[in-house]
Symmetry: C2
Subunit: 499 residues, 2 copies
């Protein structure tokens, strides 16, 4: 059996190396590639995806997994080998269900769909995107049909982003969250607004960049195993645990993009860098799920980066770099970066309103999967829910239903992981503050190594060994739970807005 | 047969896409990759090379080529399809001879060899590199033994870089060249030296970069299908005909590195960008040979970029960018950038001495292949030949036998293509000046589109359809010939040095 485990690992190494190769190509595509390279790059990536899929569904892999199943059951269920067999068998079983014809068709439809979406958004004309979205929805419904055993068709989609998470569970979580977040926002709206105009003024781009580098370096980002570049839509990406890169956007007239964007991507990257070396090139090196990944990015961005103790340390330094902030005292600065304002665009939303943007998307996705609404119903449904949850209505579809790329790429099922990540970030935060009682004091001194060490030990090193709910349970003692997040929001904004 | 041609093209598309994928990984490795990524990148590249080799030697490809051979003979021999079958069959036949064991062993030995070479060069201690070089030489002799039919064992190596070029032919060419180049250098040494000290002073790095960009833009480099980045060892690389990138090095205390380096790499890139679209992703898109590629880089660097007409246009502009050159008149500038001075380092050599650096390397490589010398004899042989050809002797091996990376990577057989490229550049130059009588006048006005159009039509668009000697013959009416280069050198330096 040792020999068969070795054979399994050899197959997984090849899949992992091909995936990492594709990631290098994607990184270049999103940072430096000249426009002329787009078609060729598409061809190269399509080939790599096919080579990966062939290997992920190979009879050789299936036979090995079959042979190894009894052996894996004889091992410590939390051992690397047991988990490797379990996780790989799960993914193999799923990949086998999907027909090569479906993959080709999804690639074709989403490739055209993305182009149509870009044009539709630029012209704010939903009718351009609508026929493409209809095809995407039909294909995603077909995907769900490959898994007839699921309780709800949406489960089949969600599972790809959030292993073993059920639609019903997400609904329960969101149902507990929504009325209280709506209530909180209304309460805040009744109070005098805080001022964040000082964030909106010209800031030297080079100085912004350098300050971001300084912060992520203090967080513990390892420059020997990563680098930072500029990108229009910032992201973090990994080519293995020893090359985990971040990107950022520098807005010359607004400090927030670079500042919180850099912390966010650094949070993702620290997760990737913290994986145990023995999991590298096994397929388990990538993080437990999108929600767990988002919990890390949001923790460093919000729970650290938008906290008062953090700015007690960094506010004087920021004023030194940008003398134009000299007359903005700490408290005013802190309130400004935490301003709550219902708005139209998800990616610009504050902590109090963000999840509501997710909820309306999730409800629409579920309805599309159930067939109770069609693509054509979305613009109206979007505006109605925006009014209901956030009290604002987009003046056009570009700032409404057309704002996100996800549906055009076929990523129906993805959105809820953003909100779940917010919840998990605070669950972990409550736990780490119990385990490290002087954490606030450390952050006040700009020391993050104990925090990073704790995250490494509890979360990062395990990679994708554990399912997300399982990991959250192991670390915090409960499954994904909205209560800590609500406690956090209420406490934070009561103080800021004097509720 | 049309169906089989289509099948052949489909196989070649996959090989080409895999090669281009590897090139993206190499570009990143040589520009931006953090040190931690080195091991993972090595693994990814080794996998891609294996996938390429599997496809290049697949029985499916062999069968198709066998079936297509008679059909190809019935076509116009210069048609794309006929050439595609011919060139692919040639490469297939060669790849089949090489054992997978040899490839693995060469990868292993050269991987260790490169590390040893770097250490040996840093410490100027040949004994560190010697045992590795011995293994490389043994392996390259083994490679030659896979082709027992060749006239000289070195032919087998040379053929990989310069298809169908024979050692005997190169010897004849170099034997005609060497005494005359040595004589020319001696004559120059008897004349007063020209001053180039103005090139060696601080130059603003950003302004250097921008000036280089301005020049290659004027040459016709297409920024929609390429980009420029910094690299310690500048190179040009292609990911298909619509993404052909260049790199450059900016030395803050010497203008020459950026200036002539950028033109050189642009010359390579224009070749890649000029290939006919119908050859893209066939394996024929890469240029006829290394010598042909070098003929393009050297033409733009030397025949254009170190010419008086070019600087009649660009000298005032350079003075505008760098006011510190205001008191350097055109003639002095022109002489300075063409200073001849026998020196130790090949990559810094001027046009009059460069080929001699190549010749001594070629003689040593041939002797190694013949077995008449061993790796241990090289340092002494190196110094003796440097004295004989250039009249200078390295004070240490770092500036002697250890200066180039090529032998550590297994690239025995590569060097002569540099010198052959110089010769071809002038053969083409004589021809283009016959075809475009007012070319000098155009260059004086900073107009390069007619030149680029001519090169595109005669050379670039053909990619690797023709063998290098065949292409040179087609365009110039004769095979590779040293006489034009000698005429060029003599005329140029007689004028500069008053011989």
């Amino acid at each position: 059996m040792e020999e068969k485990i070795k054979q399994l690992r050899n197959l997984l190494v090849e899949i992992s190396d091909l995936r990492n190769t594709a990631s290098v190509l994607e990184w270049d595509q999103r940072t430096y590639m000249p426009s002329g390279g787009a078609e060729g790059r598409g061809n190269q990536l399509a080939l790599l995806r096919r080579l990966v899929h062939e290997r992920e569904t190979s009879p050789e892999l299936g036979k090995l997994l079959e042979d190894l199943k009894p052996f894996a059951l004889s091992l410590d269920p939390d051992s690397d080998d047991a988990r490797l067999v379990k996780v790989t068998a799960r993914l193999y079983g799923k990949a086998l269900r999907v027909t090569p014809k479906y993959i080709l068709e999804l690639n074709r439809v989403t490739s055209l769909g993305q182009q149509a979406w870009m044009e539709a958004r630029a012209k704010s004309d939903f009718s351009i995107f609508r026929p493409h979205l209809e095809k995407v929805v039909a294909l995603r419904r077909e995907y769900a049909s490959f898994f007839p055993e699921v309780e709800h068709p949406y489960d089949a989609l969600l599972d790809d982003y959030e292993p073993n998470m059920k639609t019903a569970d997400v609904k329960v979580i969101f149902d507990g969250l929504r009325p209280k977040q709506v209530e909180l926002i209304r309460a805040i709206a009744g109070k005098p607004q805080v001022d964040d105009s000082f964030l909106h003024q010209p800031f030297d781009e080079k100085k912004q960049w350098d300050f971001g580098v300084e912060v992520v370096t203090r967080f513990g980002y390892d420059w020997k195993r990563g680098r930072e570049d500029k990108a229009t839509h910032p992201f973090s990406i990994s080519f293995g645990i020893n090359d985990v890169r971040i990107t950022t956007r520098v807005n010359p007239d607004y400090l927030g993009s670079m500042l919180f964007g850099s912390m966010h991507e650094c949070g993702h990257a620290l997760y990737g860098m913290g994986c145990a070396p023995e999991l590298d090139r096994t397929g388990l090196e990538g993080g437990a799920s999108l929600a767990l990944h988002e919990s890390q990015s949001r923790m460093w961005e919000n729970l650290v980066g938008r906290s008062l103790p953090f700015w007690e340390c960094f506010h004087p330094r920021l004023q030194q770099v940008f003398p134009q902030l000299a007359d903005i005292p700490l408290e005013k600065f802190y309130k400004g970066i935490n301003r709550v304002q219902p708005s139209l665009i998800r990616v610009e939303a504050d902590e109090a309103t963000y999840n509501l943007h997710i909820m309306l998307r999730l409800e629409m996705e579920i309805a599309l999967l159930e067939g109770s609404v069609t693509a054509g119903d979305l613009p109206q449904m979007w505006n109605q829910k925006m009014q209901e949850y956030l009290g604002v209505v987009p003046p056009d579809d570009a700032r409404g239903v057309l704002q996100d790329i996800h549906w055009s790429t076929g990523d129906i099922g993805y959105f809820s992981t953003y909100a779940l990540g917010n919840l998990v970030s605070v669950q972990l935060w409550e736990k780490v503050n119990q385990d490290i009682p002087d954490l606030t004091e450390q952050i006040r001194k700009g020391q993050f190594n104990t925090l990073l060490g704790w995250l490494g030990e509890k979360v990062h090193r395990h990679g994708a060994k554990f399912e997300p709910q399982e990991l959250v349970q192991k670390v915090t003692g409960s499954k994904i739970d909205p209560e800590p997040y609500l406690r956090y929001l209420t406490k934070k904004y009561s103080q800021i807005y004097g509720l």
